[in-house]
């Protein structure tokens, strides 16, 4: 389905709340999804995977293991970015050095969450060229910068505020975006023109969980709940 950015955000918000995520975290995921989608990135796919991981307990919340290092609250599981994103954002001005998140389940979604939360209108997808200088997702304010340049996937210490370390290979969709997608910046206009593509399986997932925020119809609800008669006309 071709959807608007607002629909993508709204679908994710409802599904996340329906799945049991706290509203503040759900809205963070929803806005990050929209942020990705506006650059033609598959935000809904990433959030569906993140929600599935969390619902199936493959990914869990985070704890500090040492200063500036976050890992899963349960050993041998991935960090759910649905939680890690909020923690990184909330601690960004407290931890005045790079934070490390160990094995986030959806690194690209995590980056989008942080990038969006930092955003004051100057957040950009920076992609100068394919050979060196500025690739990846970058936030150009307050020195918050996330780059995908380097040989070690998702890990580049140094000037970054956030390091992501993974003991698994990122899925192709994440890797390709982080390392080698020169067309990224050109997709935004296409999204505005054509909308956001959401695959059927993702849509089904989002609708199914989103439906859990709705209350089944009943006679009393239909008659009294809206403050107007069943037939309201003049």
């Amino acid at each position: 389905m071709q959807a608007s950015l607002a629909e993508a955000e709204s679908l994710v918000l409802k599904a996340a709340v329906g799945a049991g995520l706290e509203p503040g975290l759900a809205s963070l995921s929803a806005r990050a999804t929209r942020w990705l989608c506006q650059y033609g990135l598959p935000g809904t796919r990433l959030v569906v995977r993140a929600l599935t991981n969390w619902l199936e307990r493959r990914s869990v919340g985070v704890k500090w293991t040492e200063e500036r290092k976050l890992c899963a609250v349960t050993e041998n599981q991935m960090v759910s970015v649905l939680y890690a994103g909020a923690v990184v954002i909330d601690h960004r001005s407290l931890v005045r050095a790079p934070m490390t998140v160990t094995s986030p389940d959806e690194p690209l979604l995590l980056l989008a969450m942080v990038a969006h939360a930092m955003g004051d209108g100057s957040v950009k997808v920076a992609w100068s060229d394919s050979s060196g200088t500025r690739q990846g997702l970058q936030v150009d304010n307050d020195g918050c910068t996330f780059l995908g340049v380097g040989n070690c996937p998702l890990h580049r210490p140094g000037t970054l505020d956030l390091c992501l370390t993974c003991d698994w290979n990122p899925p192709a969709i994440t890797g390709s975006v982080l390392w080698n997608d020169a067309a990224l910046v050109h997709r935004q206009e296409s999204v505005y023109k054509n909308g956001v593509g959401i695959e059927q399986a993702e849509l089904l997932f989002l609708h199914q969980w989103g439906a859990k925020t709705l209350i089944p119809d009943s006679d009393i609800s239909r008659e009294k709940g809206a403050g107007a008669g069943r037939i309201d006309t003049d």
Partner: protein, 554 residues
């Protein structure tokens, strides 16, 4: 300046009137200033008025098209509820001039409304039902060669009533952010205001067309002043209220701007003669306007009666020997008189009247009504600071005792039935675990209680890592600390809560008038009553249509 604790209380919000800063007024000023050309480019309706029509609105930079699809509707299907499945007419505001393929596409999709799929060239989606009370009377009168009964026009105020206006990406329509760099849509809800304006044009053309077909030999067109007295109706329910809760920064800008406008006028040292004269004229006009305000609702009728009486006393006071208008700070005196001597309805009407007096001072403020800002959560804020903010900014929440069932009576939810927003009783309806996050007072109290288990120097980030359930509320408290007019200061789940007060406030910002409550959750209103039609724009004073009164019978 009036404080949020005064302005953002439901009893005052529920007495709001449109002002010259209202979004419809801004749009009509723009249409006049930029000499927009609006014309029907297709009017393919049969004798009964069924078919399609297109209206092109040409501005200095772009053209927009209202696409109309008018279909038969059985009387027993005509309902204003969201759960309706069909309507007398459906509309799309299209970006540009549609091709025949686009007309065909929208002829299928537009009548399906929420069930249809739209694309980024479709800016706004809407639908409307005929007023059973008025439409046939007007049609038959015109067909028989006479003007409709003015009293009937005054009683209803519109021929058709919109029952939803969707934009900002709903059902695949264009995202708002794509439009904000267009000057004509930079202000709040300007695309929505444009489609409603064009729909009003259509309703008048429609009834004249059907009347003409009914009796071509005797038909007469409606007199211009009668036409202008007809607006476009709207029926509004709970769906509008959550917007006020989910957009605190924007709501702050609206309320704060209006208060700045009022303060500017109240600060005026001396009133010039022509401004005093304008005030007298407006007072007389508004008395007529209120006299035409017909409602069935007992509570609102009493309020209107009281307002009428207040206006008589206000007129007497400004005419008296102790008239304040020739003294220093006259408008402050008028406002203060209203506060001490009159009802809240009258006080808020006085606010609208005062703001009306100084267009040169006030109109530039309309640029302050739009924002897309979102306040980021500050995890470094200490718990002690957050406590202080709650105690200062959210003191009103402690008026509610959530151990008392009355404070916890309702829950807001979306029904599975077309996602219609509804209000349920917590004690005897299922589904409270799925309530909308709209109980701000309760959530702030819960947060406040939780804070007591933390040291005052602990950063909020630590709290939220342990209790992510409070993240939503912490963000809200921090936002309201910066945007204090952004919060409705009321427990919206309490027994006695009147969501209709929130609806009226928002609708007044749109420019709505003749609020006609059907319950505490539902109201009808009139939009653009008195506004110039496209043909009037070049000639008439396109900005002097507030508080319209019924035309005199010739």
């Amino acid at each position: 300046m009036r404080l949020p604790s005064e302005v953002m209380r439901p009893e005052r919000m529920g007495a709001a009137f449109p002002t010259r800063l209202s979004f419809m007024r801004s749009l009509v000023r723009r249409l006049h200033r930029e000499q927009w050309q609006i014309e029907s480019t297709a009017f393919d309706l049969d004798d009964q008025g069924y078919g399609h029509a297109i209206y092109a609105a040409r501005g200095p930079h772009r053209t927009y098209s209202l696409m109309v699809f008018s279909n038969p509707l059985r009387d027993d299907q005509r309902t204003d509820r969201v759960i309706a499945e069909s309507w007398d007419a459906c509309f799309v505001l299209f970006d540009g001039l549609p091709t025949s393929a686009e007309v065909k596409r929208l002829a299928v999709q537009a009548p399906r409304q929420e069930g249809g799929r739209f694309c980024p060239s479709d800016l706004i989606l809407s639908r409307a039902n005929r007023s059973v009370r008025l439409y046939e009377h007007v049609r038959d009168a015109l067909a028989e060669g006479r003007q409709p009964d003015i009293a009937r026009l005054a009683e209803v105020g519109y021929l058709m009533r919109t029952t939803a206006v969707y934009g900002n990406g709903k059902f695949g329509t264009c995202d708002r952010e794509r439009l904000t760099d267009r000057p004509e849509f930079a202000g709040p809800f300007q695309a929505e205001m444009l489609i409603v304006y064009l729909i009003r044009c259509f309703t008048l053309d429609h009834v004249e067309h059907v009347a003409r077909c009914q009796s071509p030999d005797t038909f007469v067109p409606m007199a211009g002043e009668n036409k202008r007295f007809l607006g476009i109706g709207n029926a509004t329910g709970l769906g509008m209220a959550p917007f006020l809760i989910t957009h605190p920064e924007l709501i702050h800008y609206w309320a704060n701007t209006r208060e700045i406008a009022l303060q500017k006028v109240r600060s005026t040292q001396w009133a010039q003669g022509q401004v005093r004269q304008r005030f007298y004229e407006l007072l007389q006009r508004v008395k007529g306007h209120v006299a035409d305000w017909c409602v069935a609702d007992e509570v609102q009728r009493r309020r209107i009666d009281e307002l009428s009486s207040d206006l008589v006393r206000l007129c007497a006071w400004v005419d008296s020997e102790t008239s304040p208008l020739e003294r220093e700070t006259p408008w402050d005196a008028v406002y203060c008189w209203a506060v001490t001597e009159a009802s809240i309805e009258c006080q808020e009407l006085v606010v609208s009247l005062l703001i009306e007096l100084y267009p040169g001072e006030i109109d530039p403020l309309e640029k302050c009504l739009a924002t897309d800002v979102r306040t980021p959560l500050d995890g470094s804020m200490q718990i002690g600071t957050l406590r202080n903010v709650i105690e200062q900014v959210y003191a009103w929440t402690f008026e509610s005792d959530f151990n008392d069932r009355d404070a916890n009576t309702y829950f807001w939810y979306y029904s599975e039935d077309k996602m219609e927003p509804r209000l349920g009783f917590r004690d005897n309806e299922a589904g409270t675990e799925r309530e909308m996050p709209i109980a701000v007072a309760r959530d702030v109290q819960r947060l406040y209680q939780c804070l007591s288990s933390f040291s005052v120097v602990t950063p909020v980030a630590t709290l939220l890592m342990q209790y992510p359930v409070h993240r939503h509320t912490v963000g809200r408290v921090q936002t309201i600390a910066q945007y204090p007019y952004g919060e409705v200061q009321a427990n919206l789940i309490a027994l006695g809560s009147r969501p209709i007060d929130l609806l009226r406030w928002k609708l007044a910002f749109f420019g709505a008038s003749k609020f006609d409550p059907k319950s505490n959750l539902w109201t009808r209103i009139t939009l653009y009553q008195g506004a110039p039609f496209p043909c009037d724009l070049p000639q008439l004073d396109a900005d002097d249509w507030c508080f319209p009164v019924r035309p005199r019978v010739a």
